[in-house]
């Protein structure tokens, strides 16, 4: 459905994307995960054809229609919900009776049935995003492009929004969605990290986690400063990061499960042996490692 090869986009001298290869197949729910400024929006604008690549190519299935939900709310705030949807239908030449039926059905589905006559500018952040989604779906696209649809949206609305996306995905819609939130990747069939204009480790969640090449330990301790200090001299450990109330300790390149012994020894007297245990990597661990440039086998 989408195929990008060696995609480069620079704004002036600033490279926003530095050579991206991306394939999104029909029926996939593909999540792009990356921090602010990673190049997510640029990638979406390229895929939507709003800007042209500096180098490389990006193709959409020519027979596929698409809808774009941009990161910033881009419907008319001084028009009502109904007027916005009516305009969208007219621009796509959707017959009026069909458009009305479909608008009502979609609004109901996202729980916005009673808000048809409200000005779009007077909606909450979450409802604005739902309206943008409804507007994109109104024209029955084959492909849905969603650029950070849940950024700045409250957790409840976020969950609802993803439930709708999930339903759409199961209904056969191809979806490319970006998000800064790791937890949202749970819903995706495949995902990839986007960091500083590079695409890292595309694959399914399981592939990415199974391909994590390092040993990983979890340490339960109230004195995290002391733990960090003790471990800073252990050569077999090359990263300590805070995960909620725990610390994740990563083994250096080439180390194996035996790292746990070195760590337990180093922390003797500070943390009891059962306070140090092996743990499965999370997507965040995988992202941190990938972003460091170690490269991952997906």
């Amino acid at each position: 459905m989408i195929e990008a090869r060696g995609l480069v986009k620079s704004f002036g001298t600033h490279p926003a994307l530095r050579g991206i290869d991306l394939d999104v197949a029909r029926g996939e729910l593909f999540a792009l995960i990356g921090p602010d400024g990673a190049g997510k929006t640029t990638l979406f604008r390229l895929v939507a054809g709003l800007i042209t690549p500096t180098k490389g190519t990006v193709r959409r299935d020519p027979s596929a229609t698409f809808g774009l939900v941009p990161q910033r709310f881009a419907l008319y705030e001084d028009l009502t919900v109904d007027e916005n949807l009516d305009l969208r239908a007219r621009l796509y030449s959707v017959p009026a009776p069909e458009a009305r039926l479909r608008s009502a059905e979609l609004l109901d589905r996202v729980g916005m049935g009673p808000y048809g006559r409200r000005l779009a500018g007077a909606l909450s952040g979450g409802m604005k995003q739902k309206l943008a989604l409804v507007a994109a779906l109104l024209t029955r696209p084959d492909l849905l492009l969603l650029d950070e649809p849940t950024t700045g949206v409250d957790p409840v609305s976020r969950r609802e929004f993803w439930q709708v996306l999930n339903e759409l995905h199961h209904g056969g819609l191809t979806i490319l969605v970006s998000t800064p939130y790791m937890d949202e990747a749970e819903y995706a069939t495949r995902l990839a990290f986007l960091d500083q204009g590079r695409l890292l480790a595309p694959g399914t969640r399981d592939e990415i986690l199974a391909g994590y090449p390092r040993p990983l330990l979890e340490i339960l301790s109230s004195d995290r400063v002391a733990v960090r200090a003790c471990l800073s001299t252990v050569a077999a450990v090359d990263d300590i990061s805070l995960f909620g109330t725990r610390l994740h300790v990563r083994g250096a390149e080439g180390t194996g499960p035996e790292v746990i012994d070195a760590v337990r020894a180093a922390l003797a007297g500070l943390v009891p042996p059962d306070g140090v245990r092996p743990v499965d990597p999370t997507l965040e661990d995988a992202f941190v490692l990938a972003a460091e440039g170690d490269g991952l086998v997906a």
Binding site: I51, G67, L68, R72, R90, L91, S93
Partner: protein
Amino acid sequence: MKRLLALTRKEFLQLRRDTISVRMMVMVPIMQTMIFGYAINYDVKHLKTVVYDECLSFDSRELVAKMTASDYFEVVGNVRSLAEVRQTLDAGHASVALVIDREYGKARHRGTPARALLIVNASDTTTASQAMSIAGGISNQLSVQTLAKKAGWKEKAPPIDLRVRPWYNPDMRTATFIIPGLIAIILTFTLIQYTAMAIVRERERGTLEQLQVTPVTRLEIILGKIFPFVLIGIFQLTLIVLLMRFLFHVPIAGSVVQLYLAGLIFIAAVLGLGMLLSTIAKTQMQAMQLSFLFLLPFVFLSGYVFPIDGMPLFFQLITYAIPARYFIAIIRGIVLRGASLAQLWEPLAALTGFTVLIVALAVTRFKKTND
């Protein structure tokens, strides 16, 4: 076409909610027509005049009476010394002083030059030159009468009978001259700004980009944005024409259809300029400021208030680059002189040329504004 209609409909829906803008679109033309039509008057009457009559005779009073009878001078005081004259002018209590020589009356009877002095406050050149020409006229008239009597001239007309006929504005009303040109100024004032701001607003809010991913073509986006403003332009044009005709009683000597035709071409030029601005300005604030940049030369270098012939060569050359110059020439031709567009082909060709150029440039620039 359906999509274009949908976009136009959207603009009017938005406009309906923006009541302040709607009121501005109606009030600005009315206010400006009132201000320019009533307040601007080159024909200054009742100039405050102070008289220092050293002669105090029948003849000197005759001179004063002639001056005040012209309606251009109004005596606000009599003084008894040159120092007082100076003081009155310095204080701004009068802008003209008439000093009549002590020997004025005697000289008249002797048949030698009778002297009087007219001092005008020439810091305002328009007022001063008018006072000077009126006073000169009165002096000439008295002189001719005196000489005619002496020479035994029996004819009613003077020896040289040059009659002056003020065509096209027989009452010499400033409003008649000013208001037709005002059409150009008001359209410029409102439309450049509205168009530029409307497009920049859509770009700022991301709605323009959203439109670009719909099946709407670039041309439809441009037309959809501009078409409502064409209608607004025509509405404003009609408003001013009605005020001009029925409030200020300026007769339209030429064809109203041709007036609208030229008006449409000018509206297109102004909208093109607005669109051009929108490709330069990043924010609505910048769009507004940039539109003022255009306004000043359009008002002052278009021949609207100040005659182009009176400008230094450098500025005369600049006026050729100002579309309002040609439009004003056309409207004055149609409204005041009853000229046809065929007779006005030169400014019409120039205006059309400029319009095509501006619109082409605006459309080209508008098309590549995403990166």
